[in-house]
């Protein structure tokens, strides 16, 4: 395991975006960062700036008005990046099936790596999802490094 990989695994920074669900899952993410389920034991830190973040936690079926903003946020995040759909309504639309004001689910707007089902999700599930997300983050990192090597070899 290279040094970069190790440090990424030990301190993932997350950005939390609420895009119009109820607040159930937002609260559980907050509960995840506070004493009971302290996610900072794994070095997880919540940041408000997409340019510093490795993982994006998205709550809610992306509303039509928010669609543009979330693509913007996604594009601002540096590679490698992981998007986690927290909650049923971010994953598939859940109970908001067929409402006119949203685009259905998150994966119609940006590519999603991990789905965490549950309405509302339990904090334990969020922790599990973060752990799974970290694995994916490392996979992506390796891929990028390999590609770089290849392009160097070709040049």
């Amino acid at each position: 395991m290279s040094l970069i990989e190790l440090s990424r695994k030990k301190s993932p920074w997350v950005i939390h975006v609420g895009t119009g669900g109820c607040n159930g899952c937002d609260l559980e993410i907050l509960a995840c960062l506070t004493p009971r389920f302290d996610a900072s034991r794994f070095g997880v830190m919540s940041t408000g700036n997409p340019k510093h973040a490795d993982i994006m936690l998205v709550v809610g079926p992306v509303t039509l008005k928010y669609k543009e903003i979330i693509t913007n946020l996604y594009n601002q995040m540096p590679d490698p990046k992981v998007v986690i759909a927290v909650g049923t309504c971010a994953s598939t639309g859940g109970i908001y099936q067929g409402c006119y004001g949203h685009c259905g689910s998150l994966d119609k707007v940006v590519p999603v790596d991990v789905y965490i089902p549950g309405c509302n999700v339990r904090p334990e599930a969020v922790i599990d999802g973060l752990v799974l997300g970290l694995d994916i983050l490392n996979e992506k990192e390796r891929k990028i490094l390999e590609e770089k090597k290849k392009s160097k070899g070709a040049a």
Binding site: R36, V114, Y115, P117, G118, A125, I127, D128, L132
Partner: protein, 157 residues
């Protein structure tokens, strides 16, 4: 000041409040609502759960005799459990693990008392009888149509 010192002392001695989750097993109270499981031996394919699910996540395929349950779309409300006439649905207590794809669970219905299955069996038996006694074909295709009509009546009632 003294109060602060006493508090600090207390907090130093007491054990940490944080639950050590990934390293200790998941704990929950009895009666917690998680996803649902279908019992194929009890279900009679009435379709009531499909019509009453708020998240539209149960699909009953009467022809294939199976239930399609979109796990990732279920909101864990427990309404289907209350609605089912034969108690074929039960609610789990342990949450679903996160995954890389959407989860869909298929359950094959094997209950012989289900009207649809009864009819199919009757049709099969009739076919068998027909095969033994040649030159009485033509009843087969008429039957599914009749079946559908019965279903429609049920839904409107």
């Amino acid at each position: 000041m003294l109060k602060i010192l006493a508090n600090i002392g207390k907090n130093l001695i007491s054990k940490p409040y944080t639950s050590n989750y990934p390293f200790t097993p998941y704990q929950h109270f009895p009666g917690v609502r998680a996803d649902v499981t279908f019992d194929g031996t009890k279900c009679i394919l009435c379709g009531l759960c499909q019509r009453s699910c708020p998240a539209e996540c149960i699909l009953i395929h009467k022809e294939q005799e199976q239930i399609e349950y979109l796990n990732t779309q279920c909101i864990r409300c427990g309404y289907c459990v209350r609605v089912c006439p034969t108690n074929a649905i039960s609610q789990n207590e342990v949450y679903t693990k996160p995954s890389r794809q959407r989860l869909t669970v298929y359950t094959k219905v094997t209950n012989e008392n289900a009207p649809v299955i009864k009819k199919r069996m009757a049709a099969e038996a009739a076919k068998k009888a027909a095969a033994e006694k040649p030159a009485t074909a033509g009843t087969g295709p008429a039957k599914p149509a009749g079946e559908k009509k019965v279903d429609e009546k049920k839904t409107s009632a």
